[in-house]
């Protein structure tokens, strides 16, 4: 029985890149959603949650259509970079970001809404511009929501493979993530390998999460 760990590292890389990029997008977007008075707000909120309701492979299917070289988007990407969006790591990241969008936006928006604007107002009077006070006050106060968003995105990207499989094409070393590998073992009735890989994945994820939660606890601040 050989256990190939390549997919594990690929998975971690994908999850990390997706999480970081998605957080960067979700932070200002959630902030805007939390405080906008636009009448479109509920509609935008509903759309944001939609990537969840389609089965992952089906969402992957539509993303595949969207990103294939024949489409406007995919074609533009090919002519810009010379590479296709599908079956590439970049494509995987984009697909994962879209699928995990609700996990990032929802908790962050909730945290921003709940924190209120009192301290942010104080920051305004102390000379902090919009971006400054977002980073120095709003975001740290919504820290717990940020953590939740990051954990859900990270864990979900590790575990989900429907979208990834479709858009990534399961190319070893390029787009074959560990969840696909485990899935394959289960499908081909090689349960021993599946158990080992699952155990590795679980232990690894547990360690990562534990480190995150322990350090969160240390940095914890009562916001009362």
């Amino acid at each position: 029985m050989t256990v190939d760990l390549g997919p594990l590292w690929l998975t971690v890389k994908l999850a990390a890149v997706t999480t970081v990029l998605l957080m960067l997008f979700a932070m200002p977007f959630s902030w805007w959603l939390a405080h906008t008075r636009s009448r479109w707000k509920p509609a935008i909120e509903a759309v944001t949650a939609l990537p969840l309701v389609l089965p992952p492979t089906v969402l992957g299917f539509y993303l595949l259509i969207l990103m294939s070289p024949n489409s406007t988007l995919g074609g533009a990407w090919v002519s810009m970079t010379g590479d296709t969006l599908t079956f590439s790591f970049t494509g995987l990241v984009i697909a994962s970001m879209i699928y995990s969008l609700p996990f990032a936006v929802q908790p962050l928006q909730a945290a921003f809404e709940q924190a209120g604007l009192r301290a942010v107002e104080a920051a305004r009077t102390l000379g902090a511009g919009p971006i400054d006070r977002f980073w120095s006050v709003a975001l740290p106060m919504a820290r717990r929501g940020l953590l939740t968003a990051a954990i859900l995105t990270f864990a979900h990207t590790i575990g989900e493979f429907g979208v990834v499989l479709m858009v990534g094409g399961n190319i070893p070393g390029e787009t074959k993530v560990i969840s696909i590998a485990i899935y394959e073992h289960v499908e081909t009735i090689r349960y021993a390998e599946a158990h080992v890989l699952s155990a590795i994945l679980m232990v690894f994820s547990f360690m990562v999460l534990l480190v995150v939660y322990v350090s969160n606890r240390q940095g914890q601040v009562s916001l009362r």
Partner: protein, 370 residues
């Protein structure tokens, strides 16, 4: 006063059941006290000036710069204000030190107090490494004040900053606020429910009621205005007089020259020659027909009765003139009758020396205002 100097406001703001409509011109220097009952709109005015009330309509100009006009607004963070909120609003995720430094880090580099100066003044030096959640109510309020002082403001907005503090602590902080006002020449808008604080600090007073300004003007005028009496309470009626320090005597008394003659006070803590402001409460002034002998009161002025006003209840308010000095005495109707007081009568005003509280001695005249 230059036409464009100072703070000019025309603010309107409608809320269900509450309409704010304030028109005011405030002096470019000195402290303006905003006084009024709970819910009168004091905090709302401060917030509008700071640029935090996005729904406030109207115009705000400060020292020639337009802060708000029509739809145009200068963002709050560019206004260079220091705001002490009614609730402390510290940043819960930062240490006290980082809270104090927050505004300082974002202000233009210019000389001013350091974190250590302000921490020592406010007695929060031992709290610098603590988190706001562990502070007591008064400690949090002091940190909030320090944070505003350190942000190198060009205008200070203070919303009941001392309400949560004990008397000795207040007594330590008040002189610093006076220093900001006079030495650093930062205009201050100061909301307070304490007449003693207002009387001591204010050069200018704005009285608010149900969203409108009912009276505004130099402190001595407003404090002597009968319209203002219900705001301050009967006990606080009195006059503000200006006096020059002549000498500090060995027994701890300071001799002052007033337009009505010499006045003795407990040590006033300023160099001879300084002009200071003294508040004399009407209830601390007695009237005697003959110059009293053998009594403990040191300050006796020959005066003429100028006016007698009936108040509610058993008291009357007697206005007295002594040379250029005006005084007020609050006595009972019974006494007024027994003494046969009437306008024009010559008599003596007796003022117990120590009836003048050191905290009622403000520095400087309300010069900038006048």
């Amino acid at each position: 006063m230059n036409g464009s100097e100072g703070l000019f406001l025309t603010i309107r703001l409608a809320r269900p059941g509450f309409n704010l409509s304030v028109l005011a011109r405030l002096p470019p220097l000195g402290l303006t006290a905003v006084f009024g009952r709970s819910g009168a709109g004091k905090s709302t005015v401060l917030r509008a000036i700071a640029g935090l009330e996005t729904e406030a309509q109207g115009e705000i100009r400060f020292n020639g710069t337009v802060w708000q006009a029509g739809q145009g607004r200068m963002p709050a963070h560019k206004r260079r204000i220091g705001y002490v909120f009614q609730d402390a609003r510290l940043f819960p995720h930062m240490s006290v030190r980082r809270n104090l430094e927050y505004g300082l880090d974002r202000a233009p580099r210019q000389p001013g107090p350091t974190v250590e100066d302000v921490a020592a003044l406010l007695g929060i030096g031992h709290l610098l490494d603590r988190r706001p959640a562990t502070l007591s109510g008064g400690e949090a309020q002091r940190v909030a004040m320090g944070r505003a002082f350190l942000s190198r403001p060009q205008l200070l907005l203070m919303d009941e900053p001392l309400a949560a503090l004990d008397q000795p602590r207040k007594a330590e902080i008040l002189p610093y606020i006076e220093k900001l006002r006079d030495v650093a020449e930062i205009p201050i808008l100061y909301v307070s429910h304490s007449v003693a604080e207002v009387a001591r600090l204010a050069n200018h007073i704005v009285l608010m009621e149900e969203g409108s300004v009912v009276l505004a003007g130099p402190a001595h005028t407003v404090m002597a205005d009968p319209t203002a009496a219900p705001f301050f309470g009967v006990r606080e009626a009195g006059v503000l007089i200006e006096a020059t320090i002549v000498a500090h005597h060995a027994d701890g008394l300071t001799e002052l020259a007033t337009r009505g003659g010499p006045l003795y006070l407990p040590h006033a803590g300023r160099a001879p020659g300084s002009v200071i402001r003294v508040r004399v409460l009407a209830q601390d002034v007695m009237i005697a027909l003959r110059k009293p002998e053998g009594i403990s009161a040191l300050n006796v002025f020959p005066v003429t009765v100028t006016r007698i006003r009936d108040g509610d209840g058993p008291g009357v308010l007697v206005s007295l003139a002594s040379g250029g000095l005006d005084l007020m005495a609050r006595i009972t109707k019974r006494s007024a009758n027994a003494l046969g007081l009437r306008p024009g009568l010559s008599c003596h005003a007796v003022l117990k020396t120590v009836a003048v509280d050191p905290s009622d001695i403000g520095a400087g005249a309300d010069g900038p205002t006048g």
